[in-house]
């Protein structure tokens, strides 16, 4: 799977953190501008796939440090849990809840179950893409 291209390897090294940062940016602004969990997840997934192709599987797994299947499971759990707080307020499952959080130095931050849900989607998408791609890449060897 290693393509042995110096340019690709260098690019992989530099692009992975940049793309991951970009994906987080897409994730957090997604509620107001184009972006969101699906897109951000795909960007992050693609970033890891690029890294996988420029390095090798072991390196990709190492840089990922967590099994993509766990990412899927964690994402699903987070997504389901984000629906729970509504129940405690006597509302339907998945009713969005918003909190204002004052962070010293940064001002007010909006925190919501909706954001948690989007992060869940983000994790599931990364996990699914990487599970598929890594499995296939390993089968290739």
């Amino acid at each position: 799977m290693n393509m042995h291209s110096l340019i690709l390897r260098t690019a992989g090294h530099f692009l992975l953190p940049l793309l991951l940062l970009f994906s987080l940016f897409l994730l957090f602004r997604g509620h107001n501008e184009p972006g969101g969990g699906f897109i951000a997840g795909l960007v992050a997934g693609a970033a890891f796939v690029l890294y996988l192709f420029s390095m090798d599987i072991a390196a990709a797994r190492k840089v990922l440090w967590i099994d993509p299947r766990s990412l899927m499971g964690g994402g699903m759990t987070l997504a389901v849990l984000s629906g729970v707080p509504g129940i405690f307020r006597g509302q339907a499952f998945f009713t969005a809840q918003w909190w204002e959080l004052a962070v010293p130095g940064l001002g007010k931050m909006k925190l919501s179950t909706v954001l948690l849900f989007d992060i869940g989607v983000y994790l599931v998408v990364i996990g699914a893409v990487l599970t598929i791609m890594l499995t296939l890449a390993e089968a290739e060897d």
């Binding site: 107001n32 699906f38 795909l42 699914a128 893409v129 296939l136």
Partner: protein
């Protein structure tokens, strides 16, 4: 514009169906890719095509400026695209697995695998 799209989408469906009717399993995969895209475009076009008016609200506003494209169809397609990828991966691997077991690229030779 919807009318031109209708012709293209009809053509895409025809191409996808034709490919899925072939005996070669690789062509089946290509047919699947065409079909899922065609289906997404079908929903997208059926909701109506709007130029230059994304369903985004400007900061401080409550409504988008002027008429806006149908966000519901877009949300539908967005997830459909991602799921389509997952399903395609599943189908491709399944076909590959079937090919390994049966040892043939010919769909007709896979006829008795389910008995």
């Amino acid at each position: 514009m919807e009318i031109a799209m209708a012709f293209v989408i009809g053509g895409l469906y025809a191409a996808a169906i034709y490919m899925m009717l072939r005996r070669s399993i690789v062509k089946l995969v290509i047919g699947l890719v065409l079909l899922s895209n065609a289906a997404n475009l079908l929903i997208f076009t059926a909701a109506g095509l709007t130029r230059g008016a994304p369903p985004l609200v400007n900061v401080g506003d409550v409504l988008p400026p002027g008429p806006s494209a149908d966000p519901l169809a877009q949300a539908l397609i967005l997830t459909a695209i991602v799921i389509g990828f997952g399903v395609l991966a599943f189908a491709v691997v399944l076909i590959h697995r079937a090919y390994e077991v049966v040892g043939a690229d010919d769909m007709d030779k896979m006829k008795d695998t389910d008995t």
